[in-house]
């Protein structure tokens, strides 16, 4: 999967889980404050990303993620090679 496609997948998963229109999602906005992310939604997003990307994400790291930008950094930094394969 190409990085751009991976990022679109992240946005799509977040849009679906948080019931926010994909086009209105801002990558720098706070997922918690602006889009109502709670801990259950965070775990559901992890499940969806793991299913789509095919590898396991350390759930604990989600505690420090508060924006799509943060999530992109997490995914690309830790799993970039696997995404590209």
């Amino acid at each position: 999967m190409e990085p751009d496609a991976a990022i679109q997948k992240i946005r799509s998963v977040i849009s679906q889980e948080l019931e926010v229109d994909l086009n209105s999602l801002m990558d720098s906005a706070s997922l918690r404050r602006d889009y109502g992310l709670d801990s259950v939604a965070a775990v559901n997003i992890v499940f969806a990303l793991e299913r789509d990307f095919g590898f396991e994400i350390d759930t604990k790291q989600l505690a420090h993620v508060d924006s799509i930008d943060d999530l992109k950094v997490l995914v690309v930094a830790h799993f970039g090679k696997k995404i590209r394969n």
């Binding site: 109502g36 709670d38 801990s39 259950v40 559901n44 499940f47 759930t59 505690a63």
Partner: protein
Amino acid sequence: LTEARWISISAHLIESYLRSVARTIRTTFIVEGRVVDGMAESHLNPDPTITSILASQSLFLPFWNAHSMLLVSAYLSSPVRQAVKHFEAAADDSTGGRLTRNLLERIDLTGRTLSIVSPERRLEDLREILSAKPSLIMAADSYGPYRAISSGMARIARSYAGNVRPLSAVCSRSFPMFRQIHMRIPLPKSEIVVGIGPLLGKPTLNRPLSEVREGIASSLANLEAHLRKELRSRSLWCRD
């Protein structure tokens, strides 16, 4: 006195009181609107309707925190104990949650911690719950606001894919504990009516989250109102 010791002593006192009272109270179950009578002394096994419903795998039973001690009392006073052996009861890791967890262990109910103290731990706890989907009894308003359904609770219910039933209890004579929660403790020789409502199916749980929250809250409110009506019809004065 350490907090752990205080929790242990408090749980012991509550357990002793509830076990003592459980021998004197009458518990009635209303399952999907049907009355199922019975006391532990007169029935070795719970009604087949209850057994059948509770035997369902990955069943989620949300209830209001206010009813937790009434439900524990009903559990101790009826043969339903055998039917809920495989259930886990969720409690957080606040002081009140740890007290609940200690009490649950004393009455042979399996507790499952859902942290509110550590965000990292909470995510791991939730991952385990959402992966395993154990049959779960859980206060739907665990740490407030009380008698309201949070988005997280609605999402947990949704993850159980339509295998969700509201659980509620009312009591003829009780006294308050933790006024903020409106928790009630049964008095000796009181009557407890426990209700297990109809399934909240996928059509309810697959709606937008705000409607799921409202749907769960109203199912709990409707069930409680039905139980109060049943209790009144038995000519018993309901104080709570």
